[in-house]
């Protein structure tokens, strides 16, 4: 099995091979394939596989109960899988291995910190478990406290923290050992807008610094903002995968180009009919709405036609269809119920 996905941002093809063919191929920080997990009758994860390259942020977008947490639990080596294989930085991960776990920073969906310990004590505890050398741990804790904005509250017990502060510490613990792969399970659920924004910014920065990020969410906007590639997961299966662009095109969703026009749009509408990519044109007083396949490719042609027709353009707006509509198209239901 070979899965090829065009990655626009990095302008290269990511090729995912089955393990037998993947030997010597170290492009990806994470490679997983054929993951299955059933709880009694319920198949929570059904043949899930994907890969994440260095510096790439990968989103698992799906509603509650889709199987996101179950999937990343198997990837983090905390849940025994029924089938499948996980490789992180070239090392196999199961519940019995520990080698590869040093490459993973796992940030669980629930706040997994000791409430009766301070932030510093929580960080120290997990730092020891991550095997950070003693002389390195102290300075690293200070760094992380700085990053998550808790430097001045580091010696307070975490039970006294606000929800957002706890969330930030929850993430901070996953960053302690500077993992190659950071796994974030719905990190913004129940967080105030300000904390949420700071979390999203941190994730963006991490991606830029070269960390591979696996990000699960049921918020379409977060997946769109953060993720280079997104897998749409529902009922334990990945329904589609790719960049936002690819996903949108995959389901035949069109872009909308809104033109503000000066003077008569009549001639423009006539001329635009000759552009094959254009599916539909609606003209109104002072504006034209154009439904088109691949707005970015066609937009120069549209503007050219407008110029030839002598129509003045006062504004251009491109509205791309979002992942919400992709999800709706793929599963017949909304992301949030």
């Amino acid at each position: 099995m070979i899965i090829c996905v065009k990655d626009d941002r990095q302008a290269k093809w990511n090729v995912m091979l089955m393990p037998s063919e993947a030997k010597g191929c170290n492009l990806n920080v994470l490679e997983c394939s054929g993951l299955v997990k059933a709880f009694d009758e319920l198949v929570a994860v059904d043949d899930v596989g994907f890969h994440i390259a260095e510096g790439e942020t990968y989103g698992l977008l799906g509603p509650n109960g889709a199987g996101k947490t179950t999937t990343i639990s198997m990837i983090s080596g905390i849940l025994e899988s029924d089938a499948g294989r996980v490789m992180v930085a070239g090392k196999e991960i199961t519940t019995r291995t520990t080698d590869g776990n040093a490459e993973i920073g796992y940030v669980p969906q629930d706040i997994a910190i000791y409430p009766d310990l301070t932030a510093r004590e929580n960080l120290r505890f997990f730092g020891k478990l991550y095997g950070i050398p003693k002389d390195r741990l102290g300075p690293r804790i200070d760094e992380v406290l700085e990053v998550i904005g808790l430097s001045d509250r580091g010696d307070d017990r975490t039970e006294e923290y606000s929800g957002g502060m706890k969330r930030r510490l929850n993430i901070g613990i996953g960053l302690l050992h500077e993992p190659s792969l950071l796994i974030l399970d719905e990190p913004t659920v129940g967080v105030d807008p300000q904390s949420r924004n700071s979390i999203l910014e941190s994730v963006e920065l991490l991606g830029q610094s070269g960390t591979a990020v696996l990000y699960t969410t049921h918020y379409m906007e977060e997946a769109e903002r953060l993720c280079d590639r997104v897998a749409i997961i529902d009922g334990g299966k990945i329904r589609a995968e790719g960049t936002r662009r690819e996903l949108v095109e995959l389901v035949g969703q069109r872009d909308t180009v809104n033109l503000g026009v000066i003077g008569s749009a009549h001639r423009l509408v006539e001329d635009l009919r000759s552009v094959s990519e254009i599916q539909q044109i609606t003209a109104a007083e002072g504006s034209v709405e154009i439904l088109v396949d691949g707005a970015s490719r066609v937009l120069p042609r549209i503007l050219e036609v407008a110029q030839e027709a002598g129509v003045g353009i006062s504004g251009v707006e491109v509205v791309e269809p979002n992942l919400e509509s992709v999800f709706l198209h793929l599963t017949g239901k909304a992301l949030r119920d």
């Binding site: 639990s73 519940t95 776990n101 669980p108 000791y114 004590e121 991550y130 095997g131």
Partner: protein, 385 residues
């Protein structure tokens, strides 16, 4: 070592919680104090009576004890058997009326009755009752002597005279001497209650402590530990170590505290240490098992207290096994409590050593192996499924 990081965090969290400080350290000591002060209360004490004289006064003294409904009186004919039974707690006290008892009284000299008892608070109470019987007889003897000396024969005069003489000085008397002191010189007031409380509280804390483990699991901290490069084995050792360390800390605190505050003599240190390690291991294993089986920490906490107190009551950690009927004593030995208390009794009361408590140690080791195996097996499964 990573396991130690988990163990020490367990201890740190315990020490930080003021309510556990109270229940783990202060409460057991208070209970030893309270139970020590009232040990033996609430049931009819048995008194073993050995009459070595065939005189009428001696028999009257024995009858006086038998008629006193504060006691249940049992007849003995061998001093050694009586001593052993007091020691073992079959009877709570023994009274030996010596062969020269009547002669001494008739001769007008002091007649001594040997009293064998434990030197606890209730013994003082029993002794007062025996002395009351003795002083009744003493009054009669004085009255008789008055009757004799005055040459009066009628009963009413004798009583009147006796009442007169009873308040007066002089005359012979019955002295109750304590024979137990020499025999049980090492037994203090709290020596019997302290081991029971040690066993009760170490198990109780271990079982109730399963709540902390469930909390760690429910918070997702356990899963997070598994996600780090820490093997499940290390996590299990760390968590077991945490439960074990807490049990040991509490056990040592009770042992040392009781020795210092209440002058409890634990006997052979190697033997007592071995028993403590074993009950701490059993407690840790049982705590892990409960921590794995239950998913609700409050439920597990109250179940832990319920099971902990139930087993303590059944196993003789609340009421001495000596007052149990034989079948109940047999049933009691399904609990580790009974075996541990037997072991401590041997060390404290009979000067036992590690070799004389080999049976108790073997049985407790069996408990420890089974509880540890079950606990780690269930917890391992819970952590990764």
């Amino acid at each position: 070592m990573k396991a130690w990081a988990i163990t020490s965090t367990n201890i740190k969290r315990l020490v930080r919680d003021p309510s556990t400080i109270f229940f783990v350290f202060i409460f057991p000591m208070l209970l030893i104090l309270v139970l020590g002060a009232s040990f033996g209360g609430g049931f009819t004490p048995k008194v073993g009576v050995l009459v070595q004289s065939d005189g009428a006064f001696a028999q009257a003294f024995a009858d006086g004890i038998a008629e006193n409904d504060e006691f249940e009186s049992l007849d003995y004919d061998d001093a050694a058997v009586l001593l052993a039974d007091v020691e073992r707690g079959v009877v709570q006290l023994g009274v030996i009326i010596p062969a020269d008892y009547d002669d001494a009284l008739v001769a007008g000299s002091t007649a001594a009755v040997e009293y064998i008892g434990r030197l606890d608070q209730s013994s003082v109470q029993y002794r007062a009752s025996i002395e009351a019987v003795a002083s009744d007889q003493s009054a009669v003897v004085r009255a008789a002597r008055v009757v004799e000396s005055e040459g009066l024969a009628d009963f009413e005069s004798a009583v009147a005279a006796a009442q007169l003489v009873a308040s007066g000085p002089g005359g012979s008397e019955v002295i109750v001497s304590t024979a137990g002191e020499a025999l049980f010189g090492d037994i203090g007031q709290f020596d019997l209650g302290a081991p029971s409380n040690l066993v009760l509280f170490v198990f109780l804390t271990s079982l109730a402590g399963s709540a902390a483990l469930i909390q760690t699991r429910r918070l997702g901290v356990s899963r997070r530990m598994v996600s780090t490069p820490t093997s499940i084995g290390q996590i299990l050792i760390g968590e077991t170590g945490g439960r074990f360390a807490i049990a040991m800390i509490q056990g040592l605190f009770i042992m040392v505290g009781a020795a210092i505050a209440f002058d409890v003599k634990w006997g052979n240190l190697l033997g007592a240490g071995t028993l403590l390690v074993l009950i701490a291991l059993i407690g840790a294993g049982a705590g892990m098992l409960m921590g794995a089986i239950f998913d609700n920490d409050e439920q597990a906490g109250s179940m832990g207290v319920f099971i902990g107190l139930g087993f303590a009551a059944l196993g003789g950690a609340m009421f001495p096994l000596e007052i149990f009927p034989d079948t109940m004593v047999t049933v009691a030995h399904i609990t580790p409590h009974a075996w541990a208390i037997d072991g401590f009794a041997e060390l404290i009361r009979r000067g036992g050593t590690l070799s004389t408590i080999a049976t108790e140690v073997a049985v407790l080791s069996g408990f420890a192996v089974v509880m540890m195996a079950l606990g780690t097996w269930r917890l391992r499964a819970k952590l990764t499924h």
